[in-house]
């Protein structure tokens, strides 16, 4: 069972919908007891970094999430903003992130040929092996919408990279912690494969 954490940041229906399509049991929950029972967590997220961190820090949720990720070490997947909050900090906000992965989030540099947000389908390049990206075909493409991007400190934490003006980490793994910049729930068979992989970890 995958527990999709509802911390008030955006549209959870699409993620749930794709799990339904690939026959993976999943629930959406904001209930701390339910989250405490989870065997796998998914952190979705659309919105602003500080708003997300405030929602997490101002409740008991922070403690529960830290325990699940760092002590119980269950698999956790952050999507988009949900990936950004796994890091130390973001140029988008002034609050620190969860700090589970040594990485930082920076704004796309202003270049005339590369409009921000980076929005649309882009190709990903595998950089390290990971169970999350097993079986993805060559030239896999995913749907991205973001104005800030993740850079890991240690290259072995990067599993997919994408280039849009700059090269950034499109997917990361640090032990049991996973993050993807793109939206697998909006990325056809590529996203299905990735979420199926997460379910099988």
């Amino acid at each position: 069972m995958i527990t999709i954490v509802d911390y008030g940041m955006g549209n959870l229906g699409s993620v749930l919908n794709m799990f339904k399509r690939i026959d993976v049991p999943a629930i959406v929950s904001e209930d701390l007891d339910e989250i405490a029972q989870a065997t796998k967590l998914l952190l979705p997220g659309v919105g602003a970094f500080d708003a997300a961190m405030m929602r997490i820090n101002n409740t008991e949720l922070r403690k529960t999430l830290d325990r699940k990720a760092l002590e119980e070490r269950i698999p956790v997947l952050g999507i988009c903003l949900g990936m950004h909050i796994l890091t130390r900090s973001s140029e988008e906000g002034k609050f620190p992130g969860l700090g589970w992965v040594n990485a930082q989030v920076t704004k796309f540099p202003r270049k005339t040929d590369f409009k921000v947000p980076h929005m649309g389908w882009n190709i990903v390049e595998p950089t390290c092996e990971s169970p999350l990206i097993k079986g993805l075909p060559e030239e896999s493409r995913f749907y991205f919408v973001h104005s800030y991007c993740v850079h890991v400190d240690n290259e072995q934490d990067s599993i997919l990279k994408t280039t849009y003006g700059v090269t950034f980490d499109a997917a990361i793994q640090h032990g049991n912690i996973f993050g993807v910049q793109f939206h697998p729930e909006k990325s056809h068979k590529f996203g299905m494969q990735l979420l199926r992989n997460f379910a099988n970890i």
Binding site: G10, N11, G13, S14, N17, M18, R21, V46, G47, K115, P117, H118, M119, G120, W121, N122, I123, R141, Y143, V145, S147, T163, Y164, H183, E185, K186, S187, H188, K189, G191, M192
Partner: protein
Amino acid sequence: MLRTRIIPTLLLRNESLVKTVNFNNFTYVGDPCNTVRIFNELEVDELLFLDITATCEKRPPNFKLLADIVNECFMPLGYGGGVRSLDDAKAIFKTGFEKVAVNSYAMENPDFITQLADHYGSQAVIASIDVKKSWLGSYHVVTNAGKRKTKHTPIEWAQNLEANGAGEILLTSVDREGSWRGFDLELVKSITDAVNIPVIAHGGGGTIEHIGKVVNEADASAVALGSMVVFQKKGMGVLVNFPDEEKLRAVIQ
């Protein structure tokens, strides 16, 4: 590299999908859910739904139908038609759409674009502009499904929408819509030169070459297709289809 998005644009009328010519002459195309199921299998880049009677009938979006559509789709989705409040937008996003398109109401209340962008981010806001060409050759913006003429020129109105926070512009040529004659390159180029946000060219796409032209010569960031993806050929029957991937990528530089 970012792919140029090719976006089937589907017109909702009551519970059905229709296709129009110059915003008139409705042809029944099919049931929305069956049609989107096929587009999902064809792995299209994105889908845009426009409810073409919501504004004129003064009614809100058909949220139940939108929820049914989302169940069949695993790609980005946009919706336009009768969106007049943040609550409408909220309900649309909640069903699993990520973009809303606003046309007539932005003319009544330009601040609405700003409110949407502030709440949901510019990337979630498509400002839709319908344009007609006069017999003297000048362009002007029309609203209410092409029925109401306005005093605005497309360039000035597009810049206004961009300044208000729109994330992209859906630019529809009423004269070319449903015509299979190719996009109005002059119109598209005038807007892509005037704004910094992505412009989706709509109206007239009939061949892969038309798509290549509007991207390469008029700098469209994305291309919306209507007739071409729901009919076999001009004047022929309904066939939900999508241009061949390799041929498409070959014409787009």
